[in-house]
Amino acid sequence: MNKQEEFNQTSNSEKVYNIINLGPTHPATHGIFQNILKMDGEIIMEAEPTVGYIHRAFEKLAEHRPYNQVTPITDRLNYCSSPINNMGWHMTVEKLIGCEVPKRAQYMRVIIMELSRISDHVICTTIIGQDTGATTGFLYFFQMREKIYEIFEEICGARLTTNIGRIGGMERDFNETVWKKLDIFLKEFPEFLSEFQRLIERNRIFMDRTIDCGPISAEKALAYGFTGPNLRAAGVDYDVRVAMPYSSYEDFEFKIPIGQNGDTYDRFMVRIEEMWESISIIKQAIEKMPEGPIHADVPEFYLPDKEDVYSKMEALIYHFKIVMGETDVPKGEVYHSVEGGNGELGFYLVSDGGRTPFRLHFRRPCFIYYQAYPEMIVNGLLSDAILTLSSLNVIAGELDA
């Protein structure tokens, strides 16, 4: 009888799964995510993500910093493409104060933003390659990212966290070196890109690994709030640059690459194609680049030239007002979104007319789509889970705010 009971107990009890803790310091999680995986052999039965390991309280911090000091904070959102965040923030404030940025500055912004989109996609695509084991592609392609760094450094003085531009325009015009380096970059980059493509794109091992790995359907993707390349890989051609054009994106001809099944290979290919599109946008922008001022005429927000500060009383007063944050900001609330490296990066700003934003909410694409991750990896293999994570390009800084 005793045996019978023992037996019943064991057979009725739930199946024993192997529980694996993927992260927080697992090499494939790149940033810091934790996933508690219930495994049956190598197959994932259930995943439970934990996030917040680098929560830095961006939104609270932004409430305590004047408008121009928020820019360095936005740098650290999606640090793979910080100029996009900078520009998005600048445009949000510009929308709030209602200033029109001159075309030249807008085109310059487009160049910078597309460069940073490329640098973001370089990271993501090479990391996919790296996680499949093809390390070399990463090292070839990263040289191109160095080139982008050089251009950023020449423009603003920093490589990664750029703090580029100002509210109302750009801080300074591109100098000769920038144009020269841009030229070289535009010549070299397509070579490296096509070489990278030749290296792994049609390799059967790579294709076998990535096709049907972590797929998500278009309906699911929309329900989960996907935007950006990940949504486009699922076949929805939603792109903020086209839907709500900002910074003169309507002037440029470009295609929106879309995928079919939303699997890792689609995400990879969409990013690759977007780099080609970005290159063409940059070329168009350079071609069409108009002459003119590089900042709007908003003396209340755009710092006056140093010489003027030194010599003119008015400029000195504005200078002090801007730095101290005592300028008059209209009350109201404004939402502006840009197409970040990973999707719609939105800034919802509530202003009470004070020195700092009253409330600043970031629509962080990574945070929103990462919650679909457990569903995407269930019933897949452990290797698939890792590839899915890297192809989603979840940036911890953006995820955890």
């Binding site: 037996f7 064991t10 024993v16």
Partner: protein, 109 residues
């Protein structure tokens, strides 16, 4: 052929018989007192090997190759047995979460 004679000349065949009987006995003992199905399998392997060793010994002492060929067949059977046996064990374990023969003696779960 000279080698074999030199090598085993000092060892009477009975020694091999004692050893093999002991090994066989140990294997049988394991089958009787252990409850873990996987250990039972191993004990069966032990018994088979005792037989193998004796066969090889006889074959060498008699100078007849057939004994060794027979060992081949035993190995083949053992390999097939292990493959099927372990597959059954895995299936049983999946369903019953145990490999204890005292629990598994019901033929139904």
């Amino acid at each position: 052929m000279q080698d074999v004679q030199v090598l085993i000349s000092g060892i009477p065949l009975n020694n091999y018989i004692y050893i093999c009987a002991a090994l066989f006995g140990i294997g049988a003992l394991g089958v009787m007192i252990r409850r873990n199905a996987i250990v039972l399998f191993m004990c069966i392997e032990l018994m088979l090997n005792a037989v193998n060793l004796l066969l090889v010994a006889f074959s060498s002492y008699l100078g007849d190759n057939s004994g060794q060929v027979f060992v081949f067949f035993i190995m083949a059977v053992a390999a097939a047995e292990v493959a099927v046996g372990l597959a059954i064990l895995i299936m049983v374990y999946r369903n019953a979460q145990t490999s204890d023969t005292e629990v598994l003696n019901q033929l139904k779960w």
